[in-house]
Symmetry: C2
Subunit: 282 residues, 2 copies
């Protein structure tokens, strides 16, 4: 079976490494000649090209480009695909992707492998990146069953935890646990630098330790990723932010009113409920 | 030189281990007989007692109890102290502590070693806990110079980074980098469980990974600590929360208005400024 990978960055490159080790023949397409050469040299792909014609013999194609160029990329490769070819993507939002790409290519299945590192690019590709990670598939009423089964079979070989849901449910869920944390974490950093007393600001910087480091980590990450979340998952993210702001207001009110019983009950509850989010089922 | 430690938990116990290894004679006081016995057995103290009389020969006393019992503890040990004895504390807020204890014992120096683990109690005490950590001292206009020098000399032997500031400056700084993170992190957990669609909430729990885990960590911690921060640093914390809420509102407004240029600029700035808080001077 021939598998095409379009976009040979961290995710596309890591997919190539694992799929080749499972015995699949992997065909890589990148806009950069240097990336193609590096992918071949590292054993990420069996063949690579900047020309979509390489995908002519692909049975399944993983679209691994940034969200912003997915639509133009699909339009560019379509002339080279066999009508039976299944197309899937790895984008971190799903409703926009499925609504945009399924009309262009009926044999399309939305997907989201939830793994990554702080690095990017083909040089960051690594074996086993997806091991034990969630891999969400978002078929709709119009997704061909054969296409879904083909994607599932290949994805299962990565030893991931597969979840099925609608594109909309996926986007609501990741708004809570991935996109909202980025925004509240960024707001923490933005707030701290508002301190007008420079002595206090210097002291705060010197004293910041693991608590600040952890809480601010995702808010100090790649701005392009944060921007992408807001642009492509705007509605679900705003819904989460609105609920978050209400909870924050409850907490501020309890502190302002010296209502320690309410604050204690709230903090007891957050300690208890956090574990449900941090002990993933396997 | 004899050093008294009142309260043999994680901080008091770890201080005992390090100070004894520096050659100081360490006298421990705890309310629990079992804690005294454990402290002696582990070599945390040279002698231990539930009776403050043990502190009669102490030149310097570290007060390591929870904030809530500091005042009554100081009143209980005062009858046993020599007038020249210096008293210092390890509490994580300073204005309330200094305002409460300095009038009871003039030879008082407020202090805050910023180290810890997720564990507590004498069993959690460990060597080298304070190595390279900040240790804030908060002398005031009425703090005797000799008392400050004595605390500095002993604290320096722990290989910490000593900072001096007013109790109020300390409380403003820790509000930003320690107490505010707890409140915004707790609000994240409280918000996520508001999701009314149970399918989505289950999915969110299953998909939560390192981003959620890090951002929610301090908000899912010990409720007593969060409550203490709010009770004893109420004014500074409310000031930080108010600024945080404004920054959050700016960000929500940018997303709601699809003002991507503003959002991108904000996220670029948070990425750049975070490093100033996470690369501490040594």
């Amino acid at each position: 079976m021939n598998i095409g990978i379009v976009g040979l960055g961290l995710i596309g490159g890591s997919l190539g490494l694992d799929l080749r080790s499972q015995g699949y023949r992997v065909l890589g397409v990148s806009r950069q000649v240097a990336t193609c050469e590096q992918a071949i040299a590292r054993g990420i792909v069996d063949a690579a090209s900047t020309d979509g014609q390489l995908l002519e013999t692909a049975n399944l194609v993983f679209l691994c480009t940034p969200l912003g160029v997915m639509e133009t990329t699909v339009k560019a490769i379509i002339p080279h695909l066999s009508p039976e070819t299944t197309l899937t993507d790895v984008g971190s939002v799903k409703a926009w992707v499925v609504n945009t790409l399924a009309p262009l290519w009926p044999n399309f299945v939305g997907g989201h492998p939830m793994a990554g590192t702080a690095d990017s690019g083909v040089a960051a590709a690594q074996r086993g990146l997806f091991q034990d990670a969630p891999y969400v598939l978002t078929p709709t009423a119009t997704t061909p069953k054969s296409a879904l089964e083909q994607v599932e079979k290949v994805v299962q070989s990565l030893h991931v935890r597969i979840y099925h849901c609608s594109p909309e449910e996926h986007d609501l869920a990741v708004a809570w646990i991935s996109h909202l944390p980025v925004m509240i974490s960024a707001s923490l950093i933005a707030a701290c630098v508002q301190e007008a007393n420079l002595e206090v600001q210097l002291l705060a910087k010197a004293l910041a330790s693991s608590g600040f480091r952890d809480t601010s980590r995702v808010g100090g990450g790649n701005p392009e990723l944060g921007l992408m979340m807001a642009q492509y998952n705007q509605k679900s993210l705003l819904r989460s932010l609105d609920t978050y702001r209400q909870q924050l207001d409850h907490l501020i009110e309890a502190i302002a009113q010296s209502d320690w019983a309410t604050l204690q009950a709230l903090l007891e509850q957050t300690r208890q409920t956090r574990s449900a989010f941090t002990t993933n089922p396997h």
